[in-house]
């Protein structure tokens, strides 16, 4: 599914969250958007999901504007929020049935299977789950929709190492099965390195660098050194400010 972001600017009052941002997300790629806190990753997600109208610039998914055609896009776009937001009083099973009732390609068996693998009971109220379990439920909901585009806003935030592995394993399986385009933001550089094909690094709303991860690594190789890790690439670009 084609995703276009060109000269996107998002402001909060006088604060510029995204400053004329342009992204190139190839179809079928796993695009990891990296950046420090406050770099504008979540603002981009909101704009892509049609939750926020861009101040200027163009955002298109499959040729449609997410702000005005969000309801149509959401049939083929799934997303997980940074903070799990399903109704806390509903049981996990009921949440699955509820979300599934909106999607024709809903994979009920896949939803139950993932939760079983995660060890999450279907009868628990969502609000009674741990932070990590909630994130896994949200990921399961997104994957069960069998989307063409998957937007993941820091899906491993607050997860323990085991749960993190679950997340990436599920993503790898999904990608192997369906070839979904994935745009995700994360601070888990080690984990994402396993699955990301493309990477973009944001700082203060501006894209510092973008490209295929292997190309970026190769271009950073200097004489006599090995190809840098994603973490090294990130620190080379976004981490310098901290010093």
């Amino acid at each position: 599914m084609k995703l276009l972001v060109r000269d996107l600017t998002v402001r909060y009052g006088r604060t510029i969250a995204l400053d004329r941002l342009s992204l190139n997300v190839p179809e079928g790629s796993v695009y990891a958007l990296l950046g420090r806190n406050g770099s504008g990753k979540s603002s981009l997600m909101r704009a892509l999901l049609g939750h926020r109208k861009p101040d200027t610039g163009v955002v298109e998914i499959a040729g449609l504007d997410p702000w005005s055609a969000r309801h149509r896009l959401m049939t083929s776009v799934a997303a997980t929020p940074e903070t799990p937001d399903a109704p806390p009083a509903m049981q996990v099973d009921a949440i699955g049935k509820f979300v599934g009732s909106f999607h024709r390609r809903w994979d009920a068996a896949g939803f139950r299977g993932r939760l079983e693998r995660f060890g999450i009971s279907m009868n628990h109220r969502f609000g009674a789950l741990s932070r990590g379990q909630k994130s896994l439920v949200m990921l399961s909901l997104a994957l069960a929709q069998q989307p063409e585009l998957l937007l993941l806003d820091d899906p491993t935030l607050g997860l323990d190492p085991v749960a993190r592995r679950f997340v990436f394993d599920e993503l790898i399986t999904e990608l192997a099965d369906r070839g979904t385009t994935v745009l995700l933001t994360t601070h888990d550089l080690e984990g994402i390195e396993r699955i990301a094909t493309n990477v973009g690094i944001l700082r203060k709303g501006k894209l510092l660098v973008e490209g295929e991860i292997e190309t970026l690594r190769a271009s950073a190789v200097t004489a006599g050194s090995e190809a840098p890790t994603l973490e090294a690439l990130f620190f080379a670009h976004a981490g310098s400010e901290a010093n």
Partner: protein
């Protein structure tokens, strides 16, 4: 639609605990009669408790639901869950809003249902609310109230969550709406429009409910998952809505209270003559059936002026609209001035005198400094319109009353006389610009509307009691017995109408032994005619049924058992013509038309002597003796009795008719219809 239903179902299922609590309350009410020390009957107890608890519970729920319907999820970041579903923002809003309303309805049914099924008295009270005057009105009012609480709770909750400058915008919106509502309530109350006020209040509540719903939809559509954006969308929407509602309310209240004269129904309006061709018309326009609208109208030209809300209480404290209208607007005898008593917004229970020039191009009432408070009882306007006499109490009802004559428009007091010689002063009359008559010792208990006819009775030769005569030039007071019916001709002193003022018909002092009478112009004091009536004519009948005409002749409607006839005396008092009018029924002169024609009314054979029974009308040519019949009428209304230049109005064939003296024809006064 499928997504909408799924969303509604989800919200309702999530509120299952609320429904269970509501049902528990309903069962508790059902069991109330079995509690100890309950004195009311089971049906009364269940009805009263059911209504009270259902209303209270629904109000509390409306506050809770209104505050959480969007705001809680928005503030806690959970509204994005719905926005990741393939549904429109409007669907999300509609589903949540409808689910909240369903919740309120279900909760009310669950609370009041069990006691209603078991027999409760309250439901009838709810359906037949005496304030609503309509079946189901009470239920509608309560539902509207709860709906308003629901929609208003949303911005309150959102404002409390955001704590930002948009609260100032919300405050402006709220203040604007309250100010407009307050102004409208005051306006409608000043017109005494209780029923219209109730309708307007319901419309306002409906508008607020719709505006609240629409702005919350705008909040969801534009703000989506971001609370700051949502607050902005909501506050701007509320500001725009409040301006729109406030403006509409002001326009609507003004539209209700200021209908055009064409809106008055011709078949249900009161019209009273002010003399010449001016009338004051009062009626109820269909748009506001409880607002009495009054207009000054000049039928010959169609010029009109809408008057303000009628002042109730002295000096227009009458029990009928006609009496009140009549006593609130008067035209001076010379036609130069029309005065109006209008409410004074700054002084409760006080009327302020306004004055206007009916001959000016624009009819603009000008407020004077003359006011009349509750102590004012009667008043009269000078023939020139330059002064006004007001009879007022000075203390307790037993204390002597005072006549105060004030200049118009300055309000300067020209004369102030304490009426110590008269315990119960009655009506006032400017006999001329030099003399004011005050009826004294009127019958105790006499209806005020009857007292209003005092001078008509005086003109008809009836005993109206002792008359106090105030010389306005010398500022002195004299007592006189002006009119004593049935006295010998030597004592005859009657008031008589003339074309431009009042005249006195009395025994001619130059002929003490004969039957000669003279007619004295009270303005100039000069004798304008002497006449010796035929023996068969009672002298006082000349005053009762006579009218001096513009050309100096005297016309008298003479009635005897055989019928009625018109007697015409020339300027020298000689009987020149007798015109038979009707057989076996009395007639009387109503008005002088043009080209020596008189408008005459005759009683129909067999009809009672009432004021509002059917009459026959005729136009009589004085010079030709030709009697032309006009359509009969039901109600003949004369002008204010302080005026002598008549305007005659009729109600005929469901239409107010005006006698146009210029053409000697009847013309419709109003064209409106229900």
């Amino acid at each position: 639609m499928r997504g909408f239903l799924h969303l509604v179902r989800r919200d309702l299922v999530q509120r299952t605990p609320l429904f269970l609590a509501s049902l528990a309350m309903g069962l508790l009410i059902l069991a109330l009669p079995y509690f100890p020390n309950m004195r009311a009957t089971p049906t009364e107890l269940r009805g009263a408790a059911g209504l009270a608890i259902a209303f209270s519970w629904c109000t509390i729920l409306a506050i809770l639901l209104g505050g959480s319907i969007f705001t809680r999820d928005l503030a806690e970041g959970r509204l994005a869950f719905d926005f990741r579903l393939p549904v429109l923002p409007g669907t999300i809003w509609a589903a949540r809003f409808l689910a909240a309303n369903f919740t309120l309805v279900f909760a009310a049914v669950l609370v009041f249902g069990p006691p209603a099924l078991a027999g409760a008295d309250g439901l009838g009270v709810l359906l037949d609310n005496p304030l609503s005057h309509s079946r189901g009105g009470g239920l509608l009012a309560v539902s509207l109230l709860v709906l308003v609480v629901l929609v208003v709770s949303n911005p309150v909750a959102l404002g409390s969550r955001t704590r930002q400058g948009w609260l100032a915008v919300d405050l402006i919106a709220f203040t604007t709406l309250i100010a407009a509502a307050f102004w409208s309530v005051q306006l409608l109350c000043s017109w005494g429009a209780v029923a219209t006020l109730r309708t307007t209040g319901a419309l306002l509540a409906g508008a607020v409910a719709i505006a609240g719903a629409v702005t919350s939809a705008r909040q969801v559509r534009l703000g989506r998952t971001e609370i700051d954006k949502a607050q902005k969308a909501l506050s701007l929407g509320l500001l725009f809505s409040s301006f729109a509602i406030a403006g509409s309310l002001l326009v609507f209240a003004n539209w209700l209270t200021h209908p055009p004269i064409e809106a008055l129904p011709a078949d249900n309006s009161t019209a009273l003559g002010l003399g010449s061709d001016w009338v004051v018309v009062g009626g109820y326009a269909p748009r506001a059936p409880d607002i009495l609208s009054r207009f000054l109208l000049q039928p010959s030209t169609g010029r009109s002026l809408g008057l303000g809300p009628m002042a109730i209480g002295p000096p227009s404290d009458y029990f009928s609209n006609a009496g009140a209208i009549r006593n609130s607007v008067v035209r001076s005898l010379d036609g130069s001035t029309i005065v109006l008593w209008e409410r004074d917004p700054a002084l409760p229970a006080t009327r302020r005198l306004h004055v206007l020039n009916p001959r000016a191009d624009a009819l603009i009432p000008i407020a004077t400094s003359i006011t009349a408070g509750p102590s004012a009882e009667r008043w009269a306007l000078a023939p020139s319109g330059k002064s006004i006499a007001i009879l007022e109490r000075t203390g307790s009802p037993q204390d002597p009353k005072r006549i105060v004559v004030s200049a118009i428009p300055s309000g300067a007091i020209e004369t102030s006389i304490l009426l110590t010689a008269c315990q119960a002063p009655g009506d006032l009359l400017y006999a001329s610009s030099h003399e004011l008559f005050v009826q004294c010792d009127a019958w105790p208990g006499r209806a005020r509307t009857e007292a209003e006819r005092t001078w008509m009775q005086a003109a008809n030769g009836e005993n109206v009691g002792r008359i106090l005569r105030i010389n306005l030039d010398a500022k002195t007071l004299a007592s006189d017995e002006l009119v004593i019916a049935g006295k010998p001709i030597a004592d005859l002193r009657n008031l008589m109408r003339g074309p431009s003022g009042w005249f006195l018909l009395e025994k001619d002092p130059a002929s003490p032994q004969g039957r000669t009478l003279r007619v004295v112009d009270l303005e100039s004091g000069r004798s304008v005619m002497t006449l010796t009536p035929p023996k068969e004519i009672e002298p006082s009948a000349l005053a009762r049924s006579g009218q001096l005409l513009r050309d100096g002749r005297l016309a008298v409607a003479w009635n005897d058992p055989g019928g009625s006839k018109l007697l015409i005396f020339d300027g020298n008092g000689n009987l020149k013509r007798t015109v038979p009018i009707a057989e076996k029924v009395p007639s009387w002169i109503l008005a002088e038309g043009s080209d020596s024609h008189l408008l005459i009314a005759s009683r129909l054979p067999g009809y009672d002597q009432g004021w509002d029974v059917r009459r026959n009308l005729s136009i009589v040519g004085i010079d030709t003796g030709i009697v032309s019949r006009l359509p009969s009428f039901f109600y003949g209304s004369e002008e204010n009795n302080r005026s002598v230049s008549r305007t005659v109005l009729f109600a005929s064939h469901s239409t107010s008719q005006w006698f146009n003296p210029a053409s000697n024809t009847l013309q419709p006064l109003l064209n409106g219809s229900r």
